[in-house]
Symmetry: C2
Subunit: 170 residues, 2 copies
DNA sequence: GTTATTATGTTACTATATAACATTACTTTA
DNA sequence: TAAAGTAATGTTATATAGTAACATAATAAC
């Protein structure tokens, strides 16, 4: 099976590059828009990009430096709100947690697939799904402001590991 | 424009019938499954069906009788969890609130359309959307456990009212 | 350099949800 | 039908999530 690109969710991708790219993109986007990616906001974004798992506001709070543990909730929520407004992160509503957006320059509001085993979140533009939703909403004469499309289940890597484990046991 | 059925979300539908039907369905479903729709659980379901707006756990708490105001959060959350397990209600994740399920006997996990103006929630089976999601997840080799598909925006009634209001102002 | 604006700090609080264990209510069956 | 087992609810306490209101600091605009 030939992959045309390295999925960011393959177990051993170079996550440093992942994070650096996201931060550079954020710098560029904020610069273009004339909004300020302040040190606090940038640090929150960086912490969110530490992994592909969704992270909770209070976990971010503990990791903010300097004075780790002394930063107040409102500070982190303000940074999170800014990052959401700029489309740099998503809130996973069904987890009360946040992930970096891999499609900041393009459309937002992708499908969010969360693995219940490894907790990694994959973003999928899923155009066919979005078109089906648009058609459905047109039928309902419903004007859309915001979409949260969240699926929880077992990702392909965890399914394989599970299958292997079962095989060994047999 | 001829409607083939009376939408439960039309402003003046007979909501008593709506609620009664939901409770009867719940009674039947629980009976069939050999699970107990106890007075507490039934009351919570009834309170949820007071309207088509999503209701929060702590608002339910205040309305539970007897001893309104003395019931503890854990009691209401236990009832809510039971009702969710039985597919009698949905949690609107992006609101931390709950609505009655209009399709308890059939498939679950519909689209939830929440109007940001009137707060009413409409459930839509939206088969085309669900099929598109299934195809997308098959491509991703993702095994689904749970879906939350939530749209916020302006419902058709509120859009019309808005349009009328604008017309009057002009 | 002063003023205006934006961001962050501080204090306090509101809102949402669960853990652990005690008691009560139903169900089973001896 | 009384005893035992199971399921539901009560009680106390606490964990987790998020915001309001006002003070101070940092940056931008003039």
């Amino acid at each position: 099976m030939a992959l045309s690109f390295i999925s960011p969710l393959l177990p051993h991708h170079d996550h440093n590059r992942c994070r650096e790219k996201a931060l550079q993109t954020a710098d560029r986007i904020c610069d273009n828009r004339g909004v300020r990616l302040t040190p606090m906001r940038r640090q929150v974004l960086e912490l969110i990009w530490e992994s592909h798992k969704a992270i909770k506001a209070y976990d971010l709070l503990e990791r903010i430096t300097p004075k780790a543990g002394t930063t107040k909730p409102v500070t982190v929520y303000r940074a999170l709100n800014f990052l959401m407004e700029q489309g740099l992160i998503h809130k996973v509503e069904s987890l009360n947690a946040f992930i970096g957006c891999s499609f900041s320059d393009h459309q937002h509001q992708q499908l969010l697939l969360t693995c219940s085993n490894c907790q990694e979140v994959e973003e999928r533009p899923a155009e066919a799904v979005m078109e089906a939703i648009d058609r459905e909403l047109e039928q309902a004469s419903f004007t859309i402001y915001y979409k949260a499309i969240e699926i929880h289940g077992l990702c392909t890597h965890c399914a394989k590991i599970d299958a292997t484990a079962n095989h060994i046991i047999e």
